[in-house]
């Protein structure tokens, strides 16, 4: 997990190079971090020898982040939450008991990115996030 910062720094620099708005850049970096963290935690069970491949593609001001792994595939319920969204942020702000302490990463990716998809061929799992830059 400590190496996720390498992905973050790389994405951050690319966003800076693309002269993105600071908030938009933060959110893209955040999604890359959430995706990589999610993969290490769930596909590899926090194993320190986990290999995660992150590919960034920029074409016609469309930024795509692909996070690939060879660990356990995401559960169908998680894929559904990523693709369709959830009500994790629909809490009652005045009632601390309703506040979420986890499960926020998938919803962040769902809300920030224009396109999210997940596919697996039984060997390699690929999470793709895409955003049209302004």
């Amino acid at each position: 997990l400590k190496d996720v910062c390498l992905i973050a720094l790389t994405v951050n620099k690319i966003c800076e190079h693309l002269q993105m708005d600071p908030v938009e850049a933060y959110r893209v970096e955040l999604c890359a971090v959430e995706a990589a963290t999610n993969t290490i935690r769930h596909a590899y069970g926090n194993r320190s020898d986990a290999e995660v491949w992150v590919t960034l593609t920029i074409q016609d001001r469309k930024l795509e982040v692909e996070v690939a792994d060879t660990g356990l595939a995401m559960l169908a319920a998680q894929v559904s939450r990523l693709r369709d969204g959830s009500d994790v942020f629909g809490f009652d702000a005045s009632d601390r008991n309703t506040l979420p302490v986890g499960g926020m990463g998938l919803q962040i990716m769902h809300e920030v990115m224009d396109e999210v998809s997940y596919e697996t061929d039984g060997r390699v799992n690929r999470l793709r996030l895409a955003k049209q830059l302004r």
């Binding site: 850049a25 933060y26 959110r27 971090v33 702000a93 601390r96 506040l99 302490v101 926020m104 990463g105």
Partner: protein, 125 residues
Amino acid sequence: MRFEQTMVGDVLVAKVLDSRIVADVAPRFKHQLTDYITGGNRSIVLDLGAVSFIDSSGLGALVSSLKVIGRDGDLVLCGIAGTVASMFKLTRMDKVFRMYGTTEEAVAAISSDDGVSVEQAALRN
């Protein structure tokens, strides 16, 4: 995680000295905040002025601490950079945590609460 602590009356002001609160340090971050609370601190100002990035794990640790401190205590934030504030807005946590520009403002606000939590304040308003 590195913190710097000072007491201002009954208020603990804890400044986070690291720039990133993410998954690999979130457990230590949460542990430190829990230690402050179980150590008897009921009013805590967390200075995030040096923090340039927080992810959902870091946010989860903050929310956990808010739950641990309970209804008779409060944890407020200060010094949050614009981009980090956008993370709170994105997740609606800006409706949960009280945020102030400076530690002085945060200490003044939490001191004047006289033990009233944000939940009770919300009910009052």
